[in-house]
Each structure stands twice: as C-alpha cells, then as structure tokens.
Amino acid sequence: MSALYQRSATQIAAAVNAREVSAVEVLGAHMARIERVEPSIGAFLSLTADLAREQARRVDEAVAAGKRLPLAGVPVAVKDNMCLQGTVTTAGSKILAGWVAPYTATAVARLLEAGCLPVGKANLDEFAMGSSCENSALGVTRNPWDTDRVPGGSSGGSVAAVAAGEAALATASDTGGSIREPAAFCGVVGMKPTYGRISRYGLIAFASSLDQIGPIARTVEDAAAMYGVMAGHDPMDATSLPRPVEPTLPALRTDLRGLRVGLVREFDTKDLGEEIDAAYRRAYAQLAALGAEIVDVALPHAEYGLATYYLIAPAEASSNLARFDGVRYGLRVDGANVQEMYGKTRAAGFGPEVKRRILIGTYALSSGYYDAYYVRAQKARTLTAGDFERAFAACDLIACPAASSPAFEFGAKSDDPVSMYLMDYYTIPMSLAGLPALSVPCGFVRDGSPGGRELPLGLQLVAPLYEEARLFAAAHAYEQATRYTLDRQPPVVESVR
C-alpha cells in the first residue's frame, strides 16, 4: 500500500478504526511530509502540531475503547479564516496577525468530533478576497504542480496542502469561487454546498449572503464523507438550513444513466484555447459515455454575473469589515482621537485588495447610489437565480469549466483587478443563486513553454438547491472512469534536511 500521507481520508479512517495503524502514526507521517515539502509549497500560516498530537491520542483512546469515528485519525488543514480555539487565526490579514481564537467554528468542531487531526492553519487571500492567494498579507503559497504558479484562491493554502499530501482533507470557504477555482488549479476535489448547508459560526465573514464552507479532498468519496460530517443545522448560525442532510456516501454511483446533464450555451469553451476546449469536450463526451443524456441549456444573464457580484460582495464586505476598528481585537494604531485611530488602524491593517473592496462597497451602499448600484445588483441576482431555475427544468445537473484557464504565473494578473476578477466568471453565477457546485479534475494541459509542466483543469458540476447527494454521485462516477489525479501525484520536490 502507498505511504500514509498518500492515502485517502477514507482509507486512513478505515485503518485507524481497524487499529491497523494509530492516529499518532498517521499524524507523524503527515508532519514529516509537511517538514519536507512546506519549504517549497508554503500552504500553512501556522502549524498546530501540539493540538493535533493531543487529538491523535484522544482518537486512539476512543478507538481502543471500541468506538468507531467516521474520520478517525484523518489530518485536516483548516483555512485560516475559521476559528480553532487557542490557535492564531488571521484571515491572512495584518489586522488580525497574532489574534488567538477564543472558540472553535462549528464546522471545525464537527470534524474534530469525527476524529480529524488539525495539523495547521492554511493560507488564503486576505479575508478570502482573491483568486490566486497572492493577496495574503502573511505568506506565499505555491502550486504543487508547478511552483512558479499560483495555487488559486482564495482557498490556496487548503488546496495546496491537500494536493501536496500535507493533509488528506482541508476546510475551505467559497464566496464567488474560492473553493472551486483553486481546487481546479491544484487538481483536487472542492465542493461548495447549498447556501446555508454548513454552519458559518466561527467563519470570519466576507460577504454574508454568499459565504459558504465546503470540503477539499483528493477524492470525491473523501469530499462526500467530509461534507457529511460538517453539514446540518446549527442553532448558532441563523442562516443555517433547518433541513435534514441526505446521506451522500450510499448515493455514490459508477454510471450516469438516467441523468440529464446540461451544457450551458453561453459557456462555449472555444475562446479558452484549442487545448482547453478539447479537454472540456472530452469531459462532456465522457459524461455521455457514462450514460448521461446531454442537453442544451441557457443562462442568458450569466454575462451579468461578474458585475452583479462585484457590487453585492464588496457592499457586504464593507459592512462586515467595519468591525475591524482597533477597539475589541486585532491591530490598533493610536491617534489623537478615536476617529483618527479608526482611520490609521484600518490603513495599516488592511491590504490593497481589501481596501479596494471596502471603497467600492461603501460607495455602492452610500446615500444616492444605493438604489442605482446595490439594489439593482440584487435585482440582477434574481434574474440569475431564475436562469438556473429554468435550466434545471430541463436537466438534473449542469457541467461547465471551473475556471477559464489553468493556474497562472505569479504576478500575471496583479496589475489589473478586473482581469483577476474574470477568473471567477464560471463560478460566480452559481454563488449568486446559492447552488451546490463542485470541481473535479478533468485532465491536464501543457503550459506551452518548452519543457513546460502539465497543469490540471477542473470540471464544474452544478446541482439544484439541496441536491448535494446527486452532485457527489455524478462526480464520483466521472472521477472513477477518468482517474486523472487518482494515480498521479504532483511533482513536489522534497527538501532533504
């Protein structure tokens, strides 16, 4: 069998529950892997080895006492915008550098209860605002498939950690694509559930009508298992859905017979380049070969998604980030009076992308512009949701790209915020409509340079509200038939010490 750090979460949990290997041994293998690859990857802002060791001992004791835990001994990376009691939690921002979380996020607490070992806090774009992880104020994360390239974002540390074998699972959050785009860039599975499915208690808020936590894993089965542990109503989050969660693991399938898969007319891949276009055509053909009936659907308002999102998300962010005022926690820069203190603290604590979004959001909500920008965007959002409702009358799932390109080189999009925002073109409409969606690896493309690396691409599958089980079922069938990343690891260079 493969090395411990290469095993899936499902395999690890089975082995720990059967007492073939201890959680302490699993942790040791992963901490050693982290030590070897972290110098070239940089997935983590901080490691929580002591906490993980304590937890591993607890898991081993529970298993010895006859208990079986769904994720027994599975190392997990926690995105650093989620609270884990007693650990530094920064959201990738200088304004929270060194802040220690006084409680644990519900999603993370459920993973610990299920037997997960929290190995560290994963890097992200500051306050989850970005598509490359380059907006982190506290660290650089590199793509394990090509370390000259970004891992995607905002959940860049989460996907890099899982791709590089530093953790079997990672938590992530998605507001406009922050799970799906980086999952595609790093060749892992990333899933954003229905809005409200996983509690956001303990998640540092970005845009509250869009934010959703989801799983990152190397296999669809692992992602489904992790989702099953995190999902479900939580009274601590008023937006948490009070409805039962359908079991996902028993629903996994190996064919797609009886499913209608919609291809979106407006998402023609021709403009993405010959190689990428061919890869997506192959992916769609594979869905048909697995028994799906391919149908044509339309999302006529998709082209307005980006504009809608870049009013709504910054507006909500400007409101959410008002709490970082230097009074109760985080950075404070003193001033002659309290107004001066606010202005200086926020100037020193926030990075450029966060400032941009606070400014545009404040503008969109300001007197005289509220109706023209914010309310109009909310109306456009209704049209986007309506598009999907009509599309799902004709199909059971939608298939489309997860991103418009593979991972790009550092700095390639730094000068022009709008070109960076365009990375989320294929993921934003689903976020506006609150739909469950995931990215599963669908092949590789050459980066074009001589001797260039092969870079993974992601296929996005989208389901109607609450149909997560259908999403995992179909993704599993596709993954098992194609196996693009199941038998292949990224070429991570281990440093010898």
Binding site: V100, P102, Y103, T194, Y195, A238, T239, L241, H301, Y304, A307, T308, Y310, L311, A322, D325, G326, V327, R328, Y329, G330, L331, R332, D334, A336, N337, V338, M341, Y342, G343, K344, R346, A347, F350, K355, R356, I358, L359, I360, T362, Y363, S366, G368, Y369, A372, Y373, V375, R376, A377, Q378, K379, A380, T382, L383, A385, D416, P417, V418, G434, L465
Partner: protein, 99 residues
C-alpha cells in the same frame, strides 16, 4: 446609474474610516473607475418589475428561544483587546471636554 458623477475616492474613504495616502488615492481612483465601467453593464438590464434577492433560501426572521445559554466569559472575550481598563475596552477620548 447616476451618470457622469463617478466615484470620489477621498469622500468614500472618509465614510469607510480608511486613511489613504496620495498614491493610494490616485491608484484606487483609476482602478475603481474601471470597475464601475464594468458594472455599468447592469444598466442594460430591464429590472423594472424584478424583485431584489437578498439571499436565496427561504429563511426569514430566525429566532431562538429566549433562554440563557453558556457563552464566552469576559476574560476570554477580552483576551484579544488592544487596550483594556478593568472590565472595559479602552479607547481614546470620544467626547470633547467643554471649553
């Protein structure tokens, strides 16, 4: 959208309690003008009879039972405060003294 007015970055920054340097103000003015150009496309949509969507799932006015529950104690809640005085967060003077 209110045509031609554009964004006054300095005014908006004051509303947001965010100090900007000269360089930042110039840079954000340019970048935000470009972003506003992009979102101008929403102007083309006919939304006259469309209701706004705040969020997509049918949940409103979620209330819990009015019972006392355990919560963070004061020491934990204040552990991250930049400045404290006893049981209070300390800030600089807000109300000026009468001359």
């Amino acid at each position: 959208m209110s045509s031609g007015s554009g964004i006054d970055v300095r005014y908006v920054a004051r509303l947001a309690r965010l100090d900007l340097t000269e360089e930042e103000a110039t840079l954000y003015q340019r970048q935000l003008d470009r972003l506003l150009e992009h979102v101008e496309s929403l102007q083309r949509l006919d939304v006259g009879r469309v209701a706004p969507t705040a969020q997509v799932v049918p949940l409103t006015n979620v209330l819990r039972d009015d019972v006392t529950c355990p919560s963070l104690d004061r020491a934990q809640a204040m552990a991250g405060a930049p400045a404290r005085e006893g049981a209070f967060f300390r800030v600089s003077r807000i109300i000026e003294e009468q001359e």
